[in-house]
Symmetry: D2
Subunit: 362 residues, 4 copies
């Protein structure tokens, strides 16, 4: 831990935000008295029904401290050691989780699929399954498909797209996992219900992210399948994700639902992104890598704009997407300051004006 | 999660205590502004040097959310899939961690050793190693020894005992792990320094518990070996223990050292146990299963006393140790209330008086 | 491989015997022409029905090159990574297979049970299951029981004993594995049918040994459960046990059944043991560690007899069983020479006579 | 096993050949007398020195029954569970070994690289390593590179190419594995020594195939590193590859070296391929997918030729390589019959004549 040089970028990641007040207050509120450890407490006792209400179906919920833990557990529960998980080649579970799916599945594999804007189409999955040789022991067993909603490119699967993917997967005997690191941002953008975006679309198990929307390292694996829940109970414990003072995990996850906190924070983050998007669009020479649907923007900027932003102290995070351009990733958060947003807008505005004037001059 | 019936006992476990004020204030204090995620933050940047000072040697520290995670990671780092860990047959890693050592080692084993009061003697280890057939591929490779300090029976290894065990282990090429769930309670009782109870006694890697002494699910794997640290870096991430908002883990671990909080809380818990011990000793018909060295008491009580305590609302946790007696486990904590302690003492005192009087009457 | 000093003992192990003529001829007979690799050949095509006939039930058979591979695969198929296998503490899978069960289960455990003559009773299993805490995620999931028939002590479970064990196991949701390294020797001794000693007694999966009775490294995992067979197909391949020239494995396994070769060879080995048993019994001062039921004898010998045998070139394999005596293990084989057997008998006879005379003298 | 429909093709695979006489005689020759089991026999005692001579360096050799077992063990020994193996995307370990690398490494991964004719260039590896993020715990550790020599496309790495790859790998701290399923065919074609094609070219560990050149399921993992040998000893046993009657594995591997059997059989197979290559080249409309360097030919044939061959009973194995053509894989073996070879040549000759005449006619 530590030791690496620490760079600070603006709009770097929604992971870098603090804990929002409502959640911190929930932690303070349950910090009294003695409770039974390991999830047998009064706070955790309310977790199952709260999330079953949220998803409009009996839900089994396993709190974990990170999305990597959540994805690992969820995928491990549906992938035998000899199985493979079909997923987009750029998905987070492939690129940035240190091999969690292989660890939790005990030796499984990920079969990488292409797809525009980080989305796997039902057709692509269908073709991959057709050519995979299902049942051939020389190949790995086709076990699961994992989709990220919203994707790592900040794009979204329409509900019908999700449903088609799941149907294709289920037809071939695969289980469907949804990596919901930005689940709330997707819900808000699609104006969908949690039920619609999960089990009604064929999702068997999901990783629910709440940390990016205001909690303090609280994610959860959620399944609607009681058999998977039994497996998860054992895996969750032995991997060390069953906290002794579980009430402090549960209090956050409960608070996330109270007063629709998830909706409030995700809406704010998405709106901030929309403001930045508008500001950028006013400038010439910018290009978006993906359509903007939630709180993430992947954009190439002209040098002049980058410099103008830097002059105002707004350093953005480079994100190499190739093709000779300078790409950046901007992630907005529920807690971006009005000052930062206005400054960004103003700088874009001034830059656009300058460009206009320069052009006019000649 | 949830669903099981929730029983509440008095002095049930130090795991059930809330977060102490100093730690909660540390969490509040760092809850502002945006930070880089995954441990590249300003708070975590101070962790390594703080713990290197604490242990008087360069230390590598990996925060985790539970003792099971810590033990799993630590043992996994020193045990190959074909290796075995020598440990006491009643150690927590054997009885109550759901197979974490097997999971994190990728298929290792634990070789169970006997020993009074949950302690493995150097002699027992020596004999086990002699008869193990080291180098014989039909057997598992002898890879590690794990000791718990303080033990699950609330007893302690003297520093010399630890040193002897480590020497025996090292001579045979094994690494030494210390499960320090109640590390602070042991330190305080032995009046030892962290250095003396770890690397100076031959410990290669340890799980440091802080949750039982006031934090909110913050334990750590600590090693003094840079090569193990590299392995741990990868294992820690892929198991999902590298928190995105790591600052909130680090803030707790730093607070644990500030103003010797660890010492203050552990001393309080041990003292509370000493008061209860004295009170129990005044009663006839009680028997202690183990010498009392820290904040845990294993005791068999006469029915009359159990009833007297229950009448005052003091229900104790049964702990089946056999031999036809009714055994209980009492664990004191830094936050036991003076009222509870006094009530326990008074009830014992009254019971002892009653017994005395009954006897005198005849 | 190699390098260790090679000691040669008489009656050392049935593993040391050569390949019997019938099997070698079967290998020669199929060694012509080109075949499709990986089990898609004409010889392997007959394997399933031959063994289904043998077991009087549809059987799925997976050839492997060693008993360790067979036990590993079989146990791995019925034990999840978070599961535990109940078995006798002295069973081969525990003592001498280098951790194969942990490897193939991906991190499972073995829970060790006691029992006279290496047998686990239904009562012992029942008690172990009762105290195990089934469903408690802090413990490993109770997944399987493994029994060895004949046991490593050369003893046998009666069919009713096997049935009781299986019933106890099944009642608690466990699968039953039978390690049949000396399956034929047990069948012959019990005068049981393969069906009676397997599925009719509740066995879900077994490791069938044929190497000790005349083949050249050919064992097999056999199950009657088509779902387990699917899992095994994948595990068998990825562990590298699906031979490219599978016909040479299959030819051996088919030959093993032809003309009841299994029965012929096992009967011979058992009879040889009976002769040695009789010879030993004529001598004073000997003690058998276990009742003799198949082709294994565990016996303590007086120094004089050991010396007399050594003088004739009959060096036996020491087998430390404690209690201050000098124990030996003798394993008879289908191919012990009449000369060796007679020499052993004669030496015992002479020794007995000498003892008798010595006694008479005083 | 069994059950699938059995198709028989001509020149289908060198895996389908019988055991050559010299090897079968070696098996017969050692099939007498009792030996110590598990590799402590007199035959195996000669294995290490024989192969150390062959490789001109102290070699550690571990016999296994399949190439998948060999590759799995070798890769598992050099890849930690959190490590990744760089290899060609079409290598056998990726496409057709059921996940053996993941199984034996306990959760490792393969990072797939492109390359013409199934060869990975040093440059491609270099670039992959540069962009991999070595030391970044969010990525898997870069642990090994695996090359197949000869490749699955029947092509060869020049010795200098191998050396460059190894140097690139070693510079980044990776170990180098060579999958030598057709090791002898490569040696013969390159006119290289075993030393030149392994350790002198930077290979740390290899899988030596002998089955395709005349043995009965006998491959071997060979390393020159004593530390890897220790690890392999344990892995080899626990995976069940330490045969009890090891002499029958060792006898084959020894026979493979005697009278340069490896060279004789590989030369024959390569020559047979050269004859077929010449015959095919005389026909119009054929196209080779890869340069032909050993005993494998990947070729697209015009329908007329396919039909002409089929008319003579020569059915070839389709091998879908895309681009709208009908591709076939032909693998020659040391034991192709002169009749088959001549028939193939004659059919091609006749077809070529027919084509010529047809053309002449117009």
């Amino acid at each position: 831990m530590g030791g690496r040089e620490i760079a600070t970028y603006h709009f770097n990641s929604d992971n870098g935000s603090p804990v929002c007040d409502q959640v911190m207050n929930a932690l303070l509120a349950c910090n009294h008295g003695v409770e039974t450890a390991y999830g047998e407490d009064q706070v955790t006792a309310r977790l199952k029904s709260a999330y079953s209400d949220f998803f409009e179906r009996e839900s089994y919920i396993f709190p974990v401290g990170s999305g990597t833990a959540g994805n690992g557990l969820a995928l491990g529960a549906i992938t035998p050691p000899y199985g493979t998980i079909f997923c987009h080649q750029a998905s987070h579970i492939v690129t940035t989780e240190g091999g969690a799916p292989e660890f939790y599945s005990g030796g499984g594999r990920m079969t990488l699929l292409p797809g525009e804007h980080n989305k796997v189409s039902a057709k692509t999955l269908e073709e991959a399954l057709s050519s995979h040789g299902i049942g051939n022991v020389h190949h790995m067993a086709a076990s699961a498909v994992s989709v990220t909603q919203a994707t790592e490119a900040g794009t979204l699967y329409e509900l019908a797209e999700l449903g088609d993917l799941s149907e294709t997967a289920h037809r071939a005997g695969l289980k469907v996992h949804l990596d919901g690191a930005r689940f709330s941002n997707a819900l808000v953008s699609l104006q969908a219900t949690p039920a619609q975006m999960t089990w009604q679309a064929g999702v068997d198990i999901l990783t629910l992210g709440t940390t990016k929307n205001g909690t303090m390292n609280a994610e959860a694996v959620i399944t609607f399948d009681p058999d998977l829940a039994k497996v998860l109970g054992h895996m969750h414990k032995r991997a060390g994700h069953l906290s002794s003072k579980m009430r402090f995990m549960s209090a956050q996850l409960l608070s996330f639902l109270e007063n629709d906190l998830w909706r409030k924070n995700a809406t704010q983050a998405n709106r901030n992104a929309a403001r930045i998007e508008v500001a950028l669009k006013s400038c010439e020479g910018i290009e978006f890598a993906h359509p903007i649907a939630i709180n993430e923007i992947f954009v190439s900027l002209p040098r002049g704009l980058t410099r103008a932003l830097a002059d105002k102290g707004l350093i953005l995070r480079p994100w190499p997407l190739g093709s000779g351009k300078e790409w950046f990733r901007l992630v907005m958060s529920y807690c971006d300051t009005p000052e930062d947003l206005s400054l960004f807008e103003q700088t874009c505005h001034d830059y656009a004006q300058d460009c206009h004037r320069s052009v006019g001059r000649y």
